[in-house]
């Protein structure tokens, strides 16, 4: 039967009409595919009713069935739709909209929310009568699988929707979803021999097809991508300096142009000002208040370290429209719509097109509004980036989100999760797991290892006697019998591993937020620091809480938080290289490039401006130091490895020790001796040949893997994260991830989690695939070597960047001797 003729469609359409609405074309398309039994992905800009494109499909289906499906039910019919959302705050809003729909359609359906905030009483109620629609986070979905008698819940399940799938996809949370889906699909298939429909909702990303394959990897089911043919209008404006001299050549705070924002803030209802780091947001807050004291009471600061309650209050205030400007970080990238927000400002490079557009989309949220975003450069070369972003945005040149694969830590956690629920049959679960995208490349022996890891402890070589975790019961199912183990596991389901954080509290009472423990540990009583826009004096640490008091002092340390330094994306890098061509030729329509033109003239005069088919290398001698700068425009992570690689390869030509520095545009090698370099050397040191061996030789992979292992150890249940302010029980069972790393490295070399740590370093930290692509591109490029007599506009920002690393080929003991000579002891 045609969609339009069905009872359900008529009912929904009538309801929409009564509210003077009509379905978008893509919504009807999604409904049609859904009713025909397809799985798929809906891709539409925010604000165009993505939720309804799937939610209403389930309602139409229900109305098409017997009347009994929607009316008073004598028997429990259970959950029909599971809606996975990455954010708790989103669940609240969506749940409200759904409940309103049930009301309006006179349906006897309920929507339940299940996440970390759900109370025990609510959960118990849900267990008695499962709501027809369940809104749930990936973590809570796994918690459900850890309960007994879960299959009952999925008796009547029709569909699972993964909302904001693009967000989940590029993280280990995506793997959590994949595994949960594989199990629920398995249960449904067993119970009623039916393939469960799986749908995703995604913003535009570069690899939508792959996103669908990850979500629904089964090949024998029907699947499709439904794209909305709707464009969100976005106006991008750069905040330009009056003269290029106003802008510094280097730096990343951007305060110099802050005064230019005041009229923009003035004429807007509410402005969100995005900065890239929490430290930067604190500085901006102070600076804007100093510039315009009238903003007091109308300005707020919002980032991940600010107390939950305070953040809620700020979000409410944005909703009400009582704030003029909010300084924020990625903490507000996602989440519910704020109607009053009509302007967004991005300070400094957003590093990627997707992120920039996502932030822009926080303004003008309703379907036909325009998003208004201002780009404020923090140094002169970022003007080029502004032009590049505009072009990439116009061309919809959006980055891909790469799905995680072979995360044995997540798999190990998942198996224990199943073992504390109803237990699992390893043959069945192996079939399900190896059908997922994440584990389709898993070898049978790797699966065997994971099973061993939770049952006997690990390889027989290491001898793990007395090990107790998962064992086989008389029905042949793997189960956890130790209640303590089960309880501890339930508390640690999930893959988000945070730094050790400490709550910050006023002496007089009241929480302000959270700080990394290592930052607090370096403070002495009387030291001042800023948090949530306030200057605070540190008093003491008590019960795992940092006690502070208000202070009149003006100077304070702005904490530098870990993380937040994302590299430039490959897409943006490519457009950026092209913009360099256009600036000097004046073959463009970008006012940003006109503004930066004088700087490019200078660069061309004393060195060279590289085109996108060239690699520029600058050799600069300054006092007794020799510098080599190279500009591949591949982002700081790739540059970090590239620099170490080139340093290592040069070191093979003659013994030489380098200091290394890099930014998103290029890198520097500095030495006390002259650096050998000409055309043929350049092609050799930038060669993709022998790459893996040379990288292994040139970087301290062990140290990097050790850092990666911290998360892996947490996820795999080796290390327990303490909860801030809460006493960590079982002190006798506490050991650090680093200790486990050492122990496995020394006594159990075949540990798969160790290998995963190295794989993650190579793949995600060193971005090996991107590195290979960059080297291949460089081999095709013309290499231009110049010898400028001073630092150039291009080299200056790198020179200023403080991140320095020394690269040398000395032996360990020698290195220690030398470090000893330089040693500054400190405690942390």
């Amino acid at each position: 039967m045609e969609l339009e003729q069905t009872k359900g469609y008529k009912k929904i359409n009538a309801w929409l009409k009564s509210g003077k609405r009509q379905p978008f074309v893509f919504q009807k398309e999604a409904w049609r595919y859904y009713l025909e039994g397809y799985s798929g992905i809906v891709n539409a800009p925010t604000g165009f009713g993505k939720t309804f494109s799937l939610f209403l499909a389930i309602l139409i289906e229900a109305f098409n069935e017997e009347e009994s499906a929607v009316k008073k039910k004598k028997t429990k019919q259970g959950t029909r739709l599971i809606w996975i959302t990455p954010l708790r705050s989103l669940a609240k809003d969506i749940g409200r909209a759904m409940a309103e729909t049930f009301e309006a359609l006179n349906m006897d359906w309920k929507v339940g929310v299940r996440n970390g905030d759900t109370t025990q009483a609510e959960k118990a109620k849900q267990k008695r009568t499962m709501p027809e629609v369940l809104l749930i986070t990936p973590e809570s979905l796994h918690l459900m699988l850890a309960q007994k008698e879960t299959p009952e819940i999925f008796k009547n399940l029709k569909c699972i929707v993964a909302d904001e799938w693009h967000e989940l996809l590029g993280s280990k949370r995506g793997v959590l979803v994949e595994l949960a889906l594989s199990r629920i699909k398995g249960i449904v298939k067993e119970n009623r021999d039916e393939d469960l429909r799986i749908w995703g909702i995604s913003a535009t990303i570069g690899n939508l097809e792959e996103a669908l394959e990850v979500l629904q990897p089964l090949t024998n089911v029907k699947k499709t991508i439904v794209k909305a043919d709707l464009q969100k209008k976005t106006i991008i404006t750069s905040v330009l300096p009056d003269t290029i001299e106003t802008l510094p050549w280097a730096g990343h705070m951007g305060l110099k142009l802050a005064y230019k924002l005041l009229p923009i803030i003035e004429k807007s209802k509410t402005t969100l000002l995005f900065t890239n780091t929490r430290g930067q947001s604190e500085l901006w807050y102070q600076h804007l208040l100093n510039l315009e004291p009238d903003l007091a009471g109308l300005i707020a600061i919002h980032h991940g370290s600010i107390d939950f309650e305070l953040r809620n209050w700020i979000e409410d205030a944005i909703h009400k429209g009582s704030l003029k400007v909010v300084i924020c970080t990625s903490s507000l990238d996602l989440g519910v719509d704020f109607k009053p927000v009509d302007t967004v400002v991005q300070v400094g490079s957003p590093k990627g097109v997707a992120r920039f557009l996502q932030r822009a989309g926080r303004s003008g949220h309703s379907p036909h509004d325009t998003s208004q975003i201002y780009f404020l450069p923090t140094h002169a070369l970022e003007l080029v980036e502004a032009a590049a972003i505009k072009e990439a945005a116009a061309a919809n040149n959006i980055e891909t989100r790469e799905p995680f694969i072979l995360c044995y830590d997540v798999l190990v956690q998942y198996l224990v999760t199943l073992a504390i629920g109803d237990g699992f049959d390893d043959h069945k679960i192996y079939r399900e797991v190896s059908a997922t995208h994440a584990f389709k490349e898993m070898l049978p022996e790797e699966w065997g290892w994971c099973l061993q890891f939770i049952t006997t402890g690990g390889s027989t070589l290491g001898a793990y006697d007395e090990f107790q975790k998962v064992s086989k019961d008389e029905d042949g199912l793997w189960k956890v019998t130790n209640r303590q183990v089960a309880m501890r596991h339930r508390l640690h389901i999930g893959v988000i591993v945070s730094d050790a954080m400490m709550k910050v509290k006023f002496l007089s009472g009241g929480y302000i937020g959270m700080m990394e423990e290592y930052f607090i540990s370096r403070l002495n009583p009387g030291d001042c620091f800023t948090l949530a826009g306030r200057i605070l004096e540190f008093v003491q640490v008590k019960d795992m809480t940092a006690i502070v008091k208000k202070t009149k002092k003006k100077s304070a340390v702005t904490p530098s938080w870990n993380g937040g330094r994302l590299p430039l994306s490959a897409n943006l890098g490519a457009v950026l290289r092209k913009k360099y061509n256009e600036t000097l030729n004046k073959t463009h329509n970008d006012i940003e490039l006109d503004a930066v033109y004088p700087l490019f003239l200078l660069q061309q005069k004393i060195s060279h401006v590289p085109t996108d088919t060239e690699l520029l290398i600058e050799l600069i001698k300054n006092k007794n130091e020799y510098h080599l700068f190279a500009y591949p425009f591949e982002g700081r992570l790739v540059h970090e490895v590239l620099a170490a690689l080139v340093a290592y390869r040069l070191g093979k030509l003659l013994p030489i020790t380098f200091s290394i520095a890099m930014n998103d545009y290029g890198f520097e090698l500095m030495s006390e001796t002259e650096i050998p370099m000409d055309d043929s050397i350049a092609y050799d040191v930038f060669s993709p040949e022998n790459l893996e061996q040379d990288i292994a030789q040139s970087i301290n992979a062990t140290e990097m893997a050790r850092r990666k292992f911290r998360d892996i150890a947490c996820i795999a249940g080796l290390v327990f994260q303490g909860f801030p302010g809460k006493f960590v029980a079982n002190r006798h069972l506490q050991a650090s991830a680093g200790l486990f790393f050492n122990v496995f490295a020394d006594y159990d070399k075949h540990n798969l989690l160790l290998r995963q740590a190295y794989d993650e370093v190579f793949h995600y930290q060193l971005e090996e695939p991107r590195l290979v692509a960059a080297l291949q591109r460089i081999q095709q490029s013309r290499i231009v070597i110049t010898n400028p007599r001073s630092f150039t506009p291009l080299s200056f920002p790198i020179k200023v960047d403080s991140m320095r690393e020394t690269m040398s080929s000395e032996a360990l003991e020698q290195r220690i001797e030398r470090m000893k000579a330089e040693a500054t002891r400190f405690s942390d």
């Binding site: 290491g462 006697d465 007395e466 107790q468 501890r488 006798h732 159990d748 320095r804 002891r825």
Partner: protein, 212 residues
């Protein structure tokens, strides 16, 4: 490495122990016997060869110095009795000539009868010899005449070079007020000590002991 403190010669061994030739006394701290088995029972996979590796190092030390007394300044046992400790009891039979002395630490919760059965002489809270007072946690020493030598905190030292290079090693600490020995067991973490200028610190790198 040899040092002299309080007119006594002390050998700092890279296997995380000190030897006092004048007293034929081998001292170590924080052995944490049974820790790995305790972890395994709790569902955490730690290979049991760790405990064997610790015992092997102890064997080497006993053969090298042939001490009269082996003194452990606390945390000899991590938690309760388990397979690791059975293994230790068997191992110990070969060294009936050596006197095993334990100064109790916060982890040592075995019953008196268990210590007796294992042939370990227990002292609480300290064991004094010559100018030294061996005690688990140095600040708990309330006298003034003797120099406390302790364990408990698993001291580590971070060496930093130019350019973000950092490495952390277990260490011996000889401060003005007291000394701290490194934890003997390899299955222990490291805590950084607050240090002042005149303190002597000896890092244990993979190959040797060096003053920093």
């Amino acid at each position: 490495m040899k040092i002299t403190t309080h007119d006594t010669e002390i050998i700092l061994d890279k296997d995380r122990a000190i030897y006092l030739p004048a007293h034929r006394l081998l001292v170590l701290s924080d052995l944490h016997l049974g820790k790995s088995a305790h972890f395994r029972r709790g569902g955490l996979p730690v290979p049991s060869c760790i405990a064997q590796a610790d015992l092997l190092r102890l064997t080497n030390l006993l053969e090298l110095y042939t001490p009269e007394t082996l003194l452990i300044t606390g945390d000899m046992f991590h938690h309760g009795l388990n397979s690791d400790i059975e293994e230790f009891a068997q191992w110990k039979q070969q060294y009936s000539a050596v006197k095993f002395v334990l100064v109790k630490g916060n982890h040592d919760l075995l019953k008196d009868a268990d210590y007796k059965k294992l042939g370990i002489e227990v002292h609480e809270p300290s064991y004094c010899l010559g100018p030294f007072c061996f005690i688990h946690d140095a600040p708990k020493y309330d006298g003034a005449e003797l120099y406390p030598i302790s364990g408990h905190i698993h001291p580590g030292v971070t060496l930093t070079g130019a350019a973000r290079q950092r490495m952390k090693f277990p260490c011996f600490y000889f401060g003005a007020k007291y000394a701290v020995l490194p934890a003997f067991s390899v299955f222990t973490g490291l805590a950084n000590l607050p240090m002042s200028k005149n303190d002597r610190v000896f890092a244990i790198t993979p190959g040797k002991v060096m003053e920093v």
